[in-house]
Symmetry: C2
Subunit: 685 residues, 2 copies
């Protein structure tokens, strides 16, 4: 989609313009006319001849000049026809009007029709049910929110128009400046991925912030966002974490909220920074907008109150960034300029009577420590504290350094002016020490991940193995089975490089030679949870026991198929499965096995297609990372082998969408050189 | 300690008063004289005859009238002598001077001496190395922080003086009002527990907030705070979560920061609300200070922006409080007064064009829903939103209702005046929806826990069993052993009601009858990790295997003691131990067993003495709660039995402080009616 003209129109028509105060069409017309937009503006409303002393057209048709963008703010029932009538001449629209998919069945129908009109006529339509957009650099407020934010480098895309209004107001107070503010509403045609593609190329945009309730694009979203977020940081505040919320969302903009853990996995794969709440969202946009470089891992903290330093120090717990350790040279330099009672360890405590000189001198010394990428300056307003002077010193430091400097001026009235001064000079001030640490950490993690080559690659479909699997499935279906037999599953596993335990049919078992002890299992699509239904007998020691076991099984499950499996040496029990997400498609789920695994929540998610780098990263950073660290004198488990199994399942999930459910439970992995083995494989078709 | 006179003095002497601007003695003298304090004030400094036109005394001695409180702001080296000289006449002191235990060995010595002087003369000394205190209702600022906060119902006790200054400034802006602000500094004599005892009785104090870096009182703290926090909510911001921080603290006020997980367990047991960060700390103090009732579990959320409602809804995830479900009657009433597109589910979406009437009408309906204890009103400043009018309606609602009402007016300039109005009327406004939900949840949990009878009770020492155990330990010590033999440990366990597996000595094993399979173990204080050292052979099936195993053991560990144990049926593997905390003494640690238990972090802590209620609560709410819920069709494990074992260990930890280390690993618990059994018990003496 080419959205250039939509977001940079030379002429705009407001359909539904009104002179009546309080009407949306009134607000929009005023916003466009009065806030400095330089393009041509046409007002349209059959009821008026003139609005604000400006000619009012009876219809869009009547306008003879070229219209780059039409803003539609008329009752929903007239919208489709109006756009259809002008589709040949006018290609870009904002549909402000509500009354589409968000109101239920009828509205959904109308939205589908509108989408069809758009497609047939090659239109770009933002909305419907949206607030519009604002481009401060063009002085263009094509929305019914009031005011004109300052022009800057943040693009903010919001699924909720009303929330966007509040955030703009707050942003103004916090000194945030915007390149684009876009309300996507029902996202009929222009959703998050279209916006991302456009904003990735927008030169004025340094960081993209999105408030999303649902993610419409699924796989496409992952792919696009993955590409964008390697270039520009994307911060997403994704709502809809619990059931109750998902209810609220459906009645809000009719979006489908995805399972939250999968959403997290998807966002992580895509290299997106996920803000946990509005506060974090603001802090992240602010930090990134103001920072001229990327943070590295090491941070220095300066404070004039020990307690504030301690709280900052606490906040590093569990983070990827660290408080730098100063070398003796640096400490000696600090000792030279600081009073005896100061701390020259990080956090550097300048003491309560610290002057602007003391801050300046310490910053000077830190500026020469190369390994430090970020500095957090804490200040508490003591009686002796020259707040404004210290702010000036920090501003001067920022101008000279390539380190990221942020501040926490902790207080109320006494620090207000100082904070205002800092913000004017492009320094990000946080309310609390932990907010500063959190934001720097998230930005650091992003800047690290963008360098990793784990971006989404199109899955290369292995046609040959795909055909083989489909044949197996076809046969099972022709026999009216919902599940594959173990042998069939084993065959599928082999195609994806995964070993399974040996298995033998019970026919003529006496003539076969296999290693005891063995397990006897029912192999039926009817009995899926074998342990629950007595369809599994373990640890059978010899032929006579086996013979008895077989009789028992035949009695319990007459006519069923059974298999004999030599007992695998017990390894570390893992589970691996495929979860089909409604939005993102198949996701590989893996974790510790055992009956209480799910209660210990040691499960992680991977979004295929998978490459070795990202899969190993997930294993070594995820919940079962300890298996690959060799803890407690235990030997490490085989990282690459485990990763390749997960990648195999990832490939399977994409190549064979016919699989409804998939589970390996347990998968035994070993740390003694033995090959990892799937003991039971469930493939439901 | 009787701190009445210290905090409510009729006359005050300022020792070290100064006319020199910027000197601490200058600030204090001005604060006392100029801010409205009504008692008599004496200034003391040998250098001056007069300060601020007021007579200056050469020494404390010289003052002939009674002095209730002396504030000492002179160099540390003169402090002890000055107090000693006047100890007979003046009983209450604030030592502002720094240069005591926080500076190291020499200072520590001086602080010890000062403590001795205090004890011998029955003095109350606040500090040393503190900011002083402020009692707004007395217009008494006995500190070197500037200004006089408004009088209210919050008491704030801070270990960091400088941080207190910043927080006071911030509090002023947030509309918080104080009964007492106390900086405890080095806490030589008056630490958190003395303050708590005093503030519990202070009629002006409704909620106590504390910033602590270390907790000095240990067990005593738990006991006192446990009592106080059943009466008044205590909110603690405890710093010192990671190693680096603990370093910062030592160089700050020389406090010993406890292991953070144990601190959490202790605070939980004591019924304290622990704030995770400064933001939470403020929000909690604000909410509690402003609320006239306690929250119950049900909350209603009202919003004029769907997105804000969704974010609020998200914040309930994992909380104890819940969004109320409205009954049909309520929903019908809401439908009558709201536009069609509104949501009458919780969160109630009034839509972007909501007027003050709409807010009022909805609040009216909610006020009649009895089960709802709290209401959160969200507001975003749309063009049509009458912010101040809505604030007025909320204020009127508060006056009529006994529900807790709080607001989130989301925005900047457009909502500022509305927020100010709300705060003036005693309504707590939060910056973000999730902050509101979090604070209400914490307050709710507190109000629930205060009703539970799990308060600390003095441990009743069972002398008889104590003696028996001490005898066993004595014997082991006399044999130069550092650990008890298994049989001895089993004897100890029996005294505390805990069953162990049977065990037999290897002498004459052929003549004994026991059930195979058995385990053969080395039973030595030298080989403690049996599996690591091959000192354990499991699954020995018969006498011949046993005989071989014994020979092998004799070869590997000549001269050692061995025992034979029938293999216990494998149950759910738990571990139970005692961790000795430097500050709080013994703490019972329990969790899932198995070699990876520690990496799965399924460990919880209990602070003895333990009663059944709190122990069961810990089990059913902690990390292994699923064992007692009967999940996945499994039968439940025996809650009371497990609790009684933990209580036994708790009693043991208090009765026998001679035990250095204690571990049951594994403890098998069963869900088939079998008795829980300790398979291995390690008691290091």
């Amino acid at each position: 989609m080419n959205l250039e003209k939509l977001f940079n129109p030379k002429s705009i028509a407001v359909v539904g313009a009104s002179s009546e105060e309080g009407k949306i069409g009134n607000v929009i017309a005023k916003n466009i006319i009065e806030l400095g937009y330089q393009g041509e503006v046409f007002l349209v409303n059959p009821k008026y001849d003139e609005i604000f002393g400006k000619k009012c057209h009876k219809s869009l048709n009547e306008i003879e000049k070229e219209v780059d963008l039409a803003i539609i703010a008329i009752p929903a029932k007239f919208v489709n026809q109006e756009i259809k009538n002008n589709a040949e001449k006018i290609k870009n629209y904002i549909v402000i009007s509500a009354g589409f998919s968000e109101i239920g069945k009828e509205g959904r129908k109308q939205e589908e029709d509108l989408a069809k009109i758009a497609k047939e006529n090659d239109l770009n339509i933002l909305g419907p049910n949206c607030l519009g957009f604002i481009i401060p650099s063009l002085k263009l407020n094509a929305s019914f929110a009031g005011g004109m934010p300052e022009a800057g480098n943040i693009s903010f895309v919001s699924q909720s128009g009303a929330l966007a209004v509040a955030l703009m107001d707050k942003a103004k107070k916090e000194g945030l400046k915007f390149s684009n503010i876009v309300s996507v509403g029902n996202k009929m045609q222009i959703a998050e991925e279209e916006m991302l593609e456009y904003l990735a190329k927008d030169e004025n945009t340094k960081v993209i912030g999105m408030y999303l309730e649902g993610i419409k694009g699924g796989k496409k979203f992952v792919e696009i966002v993955g590409n964008v977020s390697r270039v520009k940081p994307v911060v997403i505040l994704k709502a809809g974490k619990n059931e109750k919320t998902q209810k609220a969302i459906s009645s809000h903009t009719g979006a489908l909220a995805g399972d939250d853990e999968i959403v997290s996995a998807v966002l992580k794969k895509a290299g997106i920074i996920r803000a946990e709440n509005l506060g974090e969202f603001f802090n992240l946009l602010s930090l990134i907008s103001f920072s001229e470089t990327f943070p590295n891992q090491k941070v220095a903290v300066i404070t004039n109150a020990g307690g504030a330093g301690v709280l900052a120090s606490d906040a590093f717990s569990g983070k990827n960034i660290q408080m730098a350790n100063f070398d003796e040279e640096t400490k000696n330099k600090l000792r030279e300029i600081l009073p005896l009672e100061s701390s020259v360890e990080n956090p550097i405590d300048l003491l309560g009577d610290a002057t602007a000189d003391r801050y300046r001198n310490v910053l000077e010394i830190i500026s020469k420590v190369e390994e430090i990428g970020s500095v957090i300056c804490l200040l508490t307003p003591q009686e002796q504290t020259p707040v404004l002077k210290i702010a000036s010193e920090i501003i001067k430091f920022k101008e000279k350094t390539d380190k990221i400097i942020s501040t926490v001026f902790l207080g109320g009235e006494k620090v207000e002016k100082g904070i205002a001064k800092l913000k004017q000079s492009g320094i990000c001030n946080f309310n609390f020490p932990d907010s500063a640490v959190l934001a720097i950490d998230e930005y650091y993690k992003w800047s690290e991940s963008k360098n990793l080559k784990i971006k989404s690659e199109a899955q290369i479909i292995n046609k040959k193995r795909q055909e083989k699997v489909l044949e197996i499935i076809k046969r099972a279906k022709s026999e009216n089975r919902q599940a594959l037999y173990f042998e069939e599953s084993a065959e599928v596993m082999k195609l994806y490089g995964i070993s399974t335990v040996e298995s033998f049919e019970i026919q003529n078992y006496r003539e076969r030679t296999f290693r005891y002890p063995v397990a006897l299992k029912i192999d039926s699509d009817k009995i899926l949870h074998k342990t629950d239904k007595n369809g599994l007998i373990l640890g059978i020691k010899d032929e006579s026991e086996l013979s008895k076991a077989i009789s028992r099984m035949h009695t319990s499950f007459p006519g069923s198929k059974f298999i004999i499996q030599p007992m695998a040496e017990k390894g570390m029990e893992l589970i691996v499965g495929i979860k089909k997400d409604e939005i993102f498609g198949p996701v590989v789920v893996y974790g510790l096995g055992g009956i209480y695994a799910e209660f210990l929540k040691t499960v992680d998610y991977l979004v295929p297609p998978l490459n070795l780098g990202e899969t190993e990263k997930s294993l070594t950073e995820g919940k079962i990372k300890f298996l690959f660290q060799g803890v407690r004198g235990q030997r490490k488990y085989n990282l690459e082998e485990t990763a390749r199994i997960l990648m195999g399942i990832g490939a399977l999930s994409l190549e064979i969408p016919e699989i409804c459910e998939f589970d390996i439970n347990p998968l035994f992995v070993y740390n003694n050189g033995q090959e990892a083995t799937a003991v039971d494989v469930k493939i439901i078709i």
